[in-house]
Structures are given as structure tokens and as C-alpha cells.
């Protein structure tokens, strides 16, 4: 758009009243931009600023105290443990599913894709409920578990499994359209050159999906760390034991420790910001590649 404008000598055609057929009058443009920015300022920028402001309002020292206090450290450790299991599990699932869906034709493919989307539409609370019904004392496996002295609910395994369920679609959904768009010609070329399936995946497929994969993992990671509703239901909120970071924030907030709550929140906010920065980088990379392919 911009290049076509600069290509025309500005004085030559642009009289004060001349306007492109696909353009609105300047006053309207400015009003629309203003309205959109006001909306985004109110709903995006202010909530972000409030977190950062409140986190540091008592100074850097208070912030550091809040995030290094034993319960906070326990919450950080638990959260890291949970994502260290959930993200790799969903990574393997995502790559395997995307490979099957993108490189092969089979009946029921669209049904499979719809099922992968479902955890996204299910309320986190219902996700928690599903596993309470599965593992709880009055649930399907509860009696058997307690007879064998196994704890799933109100313990780490329960938290891991609801997080896995809640973040199941993210990597697969990122990779499926990407790999479908790549087609399979490069893989076929690699095979005709004598490469095995694993080598083809490793040297040809993986470098091509690298950026989408990175974003999928980062997004999955952010969502896993921030998972709240489902974890709230199955964790039992045992301080220092089954509180993940979001639950710790809730506890602090409900105890009126607002600065500490926002200090811990600022950690997760930073993670969210990193996530969207990486998304922008991936998109920038894709745009560049699309431009290269077009030339």
C-alpha cells in the first residue's frame, strides 16, 4: 500500500481533495484509530500497567522479598515441575499428530482435528471436575487409589494431568496448518536421495517447522504455568505443597497482600510478554519467507 503511494510524485496528483478509491476521509480515519486505541488502552494497556505498577509500588526490595519468600519459591518449583512434564508430553503429541494429519490422507481426519480443539472450549473448572470424578474419593478410581495408598487428587499427579488436558491443543494446532502448507515434496525429495524416515524428519521437516514449533512450545508453556481454574479444583490448595503460581497469587490476594500478589503476578506477566514477543518474531519470520517465496 505504502509503496504505491510513494511511487507517485506527491505534488503531481495529490490535490487537497484527492483521495484514493479505497480510502476514508482523514477525519474518519483518525476517529476510528482513536476509538480503537481507546478501547485497547482501556482493556489491554491499563491492566498490564496496573500489574507492573502495583508489583513495584513498594520498591524493588519488596518485590524481591515477595518472589523469594519460601511459599513463593515452592510455588515456582511446583509450577516448573508441572510444565516440565506437561509441555514435553504435549510436544510429542503435537508433533506426532501433525505428522499424521499433514502427511497422510485418512478418513475421519476432520473429526480428529475437531477433537483436538475440544479441550480449548471446555471450561477449566469442568476439566478439573472430570478428573475429580475420575480420581476423587467418591469417583471411579478413588477407592482403589486410597486402598493402594496412591494420591492423585490434591497432589502433584492430579495437577499435572489437568494441565496436560488443558494445554493439549496448543502445539498440535500450531503445527498442523504449518505442516499442511509445507506439503510433502521436500520429504519425498529427501527419501529419493536415500535418507531414512528419521533423517528426513530431523534434517528436512524439523528445520521447516522450527519457528512454529518454538511458538507452540512457548504458548503451551505460558498457558500451562498460568492454568488456574482446573488446577484450583484438583490441587486442594495446600500451601507450600500443591499451590502453583496462579494459586499462590490467589492466596496472597485473598489475604490482602496485594503488593506480593502483584509481584508474583509480574513474573507470569513477563512470561506472557515474552510469549507474544516470540509470536511477533515468528510472524515476522513467516512474512519474510512469504516475500522471498513470492519473488
Amino acid at each position: 500500500m505504502s509503496s504505491s503511494i510513494t511511487a507517485v510524485p506527491a505534488e503531481a496528483v495529490r490535490s487537497a481533495r484527492w483521495r484514493r478509491a479505497t480510502e476514508e476521509p482523514v477525519w474518519l480515519k483518525r476517529s476510528l484509530i482513536g476509538l480503537a486505541l481507546a478501547f485497547l488502552g482501556l482493556f489491554l494497556v491499563l491492566p498490564l500497567l496496573v500489574v507492573l505498577y502495583s508489583a513495584f509500588s513498594q520498591g524493588l526490595h519488596a518485590w524481591a522479598m515477595a518472589v523469594t519468600e519460601p511459599d513463593a519459591l515452592a510455588a515456582i518449583r511446583l509450577t516448573l515441575l508441572v510444565v516440565a512434564i506437561a509441555v514435553p508430553a504435549n510436544l510429542v503429541f503435537g508433533v506426532a499428530t501433525a505428522w499424521a494429519v499433514a502427511k497422510f490422507e485418512f478418513r475421519g481426519k476432520s473429526v480428529l482435528i475437531s477433537i483436538i480443539d475440544m479441550p480449548f472450549a471446555i471450561s477449566p473448572v469442568v476439566v478439573g471436575l472430570i478428573f475429580v470424578v475420575m480420581f476423587g474419593s467418591q469417583g471411579w478410581l478413588g477407592p482403589w487409589l486410597s486402598a493402594h495408598d496412591l494420591k492423585v487428587l490434591y497432589a502433584v499427579p492430579g495437577i499435572v494431568i489437568v494441565v496436560v488436558f488443558g494445554t493439549l491443543p496448543f502445539i498440535a494446532r500450531e503445527l498442523i496448518p504449518l505442516m499442511q502448507q509445507q506439503g510433502k515434496e521436500e520429504e519425498e525429495a529427501s527419501l529419493t536421495l536415500g535418507a531414512s524416515g528419521w533423517k528426513t524428519f530431523w534434517y528436512v521437516t524439523l528445520p521447516n517447522i522450527k519457528w512454529g514449533l518454538i511458538y507452540g512450545v512457548i504458548l503451551c508453556n505460558a498457558r500451562a504455568m498460568g492454568e488456574f481454574g482446573a488446577v484450583a479444583v484438583v490441587s486442594g490448595r495446600i500451601r507450600g505443597e500443591t499451590n502453583t503460581l496462579p494459586l499462590h497469587i490467589e492466596v496472597l490476594y485473598n489475604e490482602y497482600q496485594f503488593t506480593a500478589a502483584f509481584a508474583v503476578s509480574s513474573l507470569l506477566t513477563g512470561l506472557a510478554l515474552i510469549t507474544i514477543v516470540i509470536k511477533s518474531l515468528v510472524e515476522w519470520h513467516d512474512e519474510r519467507r512469504a516475500r522471498r517465496a513470492a519473488h
Binding site: 510429542v92 475420575m134 481454574g229 497469587i249 507470569l268
Partner: protein, 275 residues
């Protein structure tokens, strides 16, 4: 459900990846969901009906449904506007704003919740000015709407944006050359082209809002019959070990989510057909 096409592909790994995928989905998703549905089925119709039609539950449906609908509608209008502005106009900070649109998707809901309530409380940055006009947001139904608008914000923007980018300028130029005013062109040429994508985004935002918990509990105040959303009710029932009551309401929500997904699939099919 799935069956392999008879013709074998030279690309290896179908059995391995498909097997892994189905096993994982079965273990993590299908069996647990079926577990909930069967659990609900064991309670019998009268008990089920009593659990899901209790006045307090009915009030929560009404709130969840209405607030989600309002939130999604706000996003339909403003999300469409934001997408338009981001695609069509140039202004400083555009890239940054574009990236920030995804924030509600990446930010943990609990963080969003405490940040929104701080902002809209009667002493908050925004709340103190609204109080001057007698508008209360925090701990009211309006607060629920605000939270549900926030978490649904990215969807309409992100579904409409690519369609708007792909829209051929020739269409608009043709319309203008045939004598249509700019307003007519937008109404008769551009909006119809955006409709399927916008509705898909609307439905996604609505689906997300229906089930939302984290961002709402802090700002809503959780008053029974007034500001209690359905997911909160389920949490309450689980905490009282009323598994059957929770499962019954959870099943209603599961069915609602399934219906919205079906609607989204239909919309996407429609959008693809129109391309």
C-alpha cells in the same frame, strides 16, 4: 473412527504417529470425558433434573450466558474495528499494539482477574472516575461482563485480520468505479466478505467466555443469584463433595461447549466455502 486409506504412502511413520496420537487422546481426553458423562448418567433423571434446574443454578446460567453474549458482542464490534485499523491504517506503535492483542490469550487468568478488579474497584484508576457517574463495575454483573470482554478480545481481531489482509483492493475499486459511496462499499462489499470470519471469532470468544473462571471470580464478588457464574457453582459443589451435583452441571456445560464448537465448525466450513 479413523481408517487408513488402502494405498500406502512412501512417507513413513503413519502407524507410529497415528497410534501415538489416538492413544494419547484416548487416555487424556476421551476416557476421562466419558467418565464424567457416565458418572452423570448413573444419578438418574429426577436427580439430574433437580440438580441442573435449581433456581440458583438457573440464575447462574442466565448470568453466564448473558454476560458471555454481551462480552462477545462488544468484541465483535470493537474487535472488528481494531482489525480494520490494524490492517488499513498506519500509525505510530502499530506493531506493538498488534502484538499486544494476544496478551489476554497468554496472560494467566488469575493475573487478569486481580488486575481488572484493582483497576475497576471504586478506588482504582478507572473505577474512581466511573463512581463519579454512579457506575459500579467491581463486584457487580457489569464486572463479569468486563472480565469476559477482556478474555475474549483476541479472537475476533485474529479471525478477521487475515481475511481483511487478503481482501482484494480491486473489489473496492470496482465498487467505487461503479458509483458506490465509500459507506456503501464498506456495507455491501467489505462487511459481507468479513462476516463468516467475524462470526467465527464471535463464537470463539463466546465459547471461551462461557467456561471462564479465573478472571471472573476476583471481580464478580460471587453473590449467589446475582454475580455467581456457572463454573463457580461447580467449584462450590466440588468443595462440598457434592460430586453428582457438580457432574450434572458440568455435563450441561460440556454439552453447551460442544454445541458452540459445532457452530464454530459450521461457520468455518461456511467461511472456507466462500473463499
Amino acid at each position: 473412527m479413523t481408517s487408513v486409506n488402502r494405498t500406502r504412502s512412501v512417507i513413513p511413520g503413519f502407524g507410529l504417529t497415528m497410534g501415538l496420537s489416538l492413544f494419547y487422546l484416548g487416555l487424556i481426553f476421551v476416557i476421562p470425558v466419558a467418565g464424567l458423562l457416565i458418572y452423570t448418567a448413573t444419578m438418574g433423571w429426577p436427580a439430574f433434573w433437580a440438580a441442573i434446574s435449581h433456581p440458583q443454578v438457573m440464575a447462574s446460567y442466565k448470568l453466564s450466558f448473558t454476560a458471555s453474549l454481551i462480552g462477545a458482542s462488544v468484541n465483535l464490534v470493537f474487535g472488528g474495528l481494531v482489525a480494520w485499523v490494524l490492517v488499513r491504517y498506519r500509525f505510530p506503535g502499530k506493531r506493538l499494539i498488534d502484538a499486544l492483542v494476544d496478551l489476554p490469550f497468554a496472560l494467566p487468568t488469575a493475573v487478569a482477574g486481580i488486575s481488572l478488579v484493582t483497576l475497576y474497584a471504586s478506588t482504582g484508576w478507572v473505577g474512581q472516575y466511573l463512581t463519579l457517574f454512579g457506575v459500579k463495575v467491581a463486584y457487580t454483573q457489569l464486572g463479569v461482563v468486563v472480565a469476559l470482554t477482556y478474555i475474549g478480545l483476541p479472537f475476533v481481531v485474529r479471525t478477521v485480520q487475515p481475511v481483511l489482509e487478503d481482501l482484494e483492493a480491486e473489489l473496492e475499486e470496482a465498487s467505487a468505479s461503479l458509483g458506490a459511496s465509500r459507506f456503501t462499499t464498506v456495507r455491501r462489499v467489505i462487511l459481507p466478505a468479513l462476516l463468516p470470519a467475524a462470526l467465527t471469532g464471535f463464537a470463539l470468544a463466546f465459547a471461551r467466555a462461557l467456561g471462564e473462571y479465573g478472571s471472573v471470580v476476583f471481580i464478580s464478588g460471587n453473590l449467589p443469584y446475582r454475580t455467581e457464574i456457572t463454573p463457580l457453582l461447580i467449584v462450590g459443589k466440588i468443595e462440598q463433595f457434592d460430586y453428582h451435583g457438580a457432574a450434572a452441571i458440568g455435563t450441561v456445560m460440556l454439552v453447551a461447549a460442544f454445541l458452540v464448537l459445532l457452530l464454530i465448525n459450521g461457520l468455518q466450513w461456511w467461511a472456507a466455502k466462500r473463499r
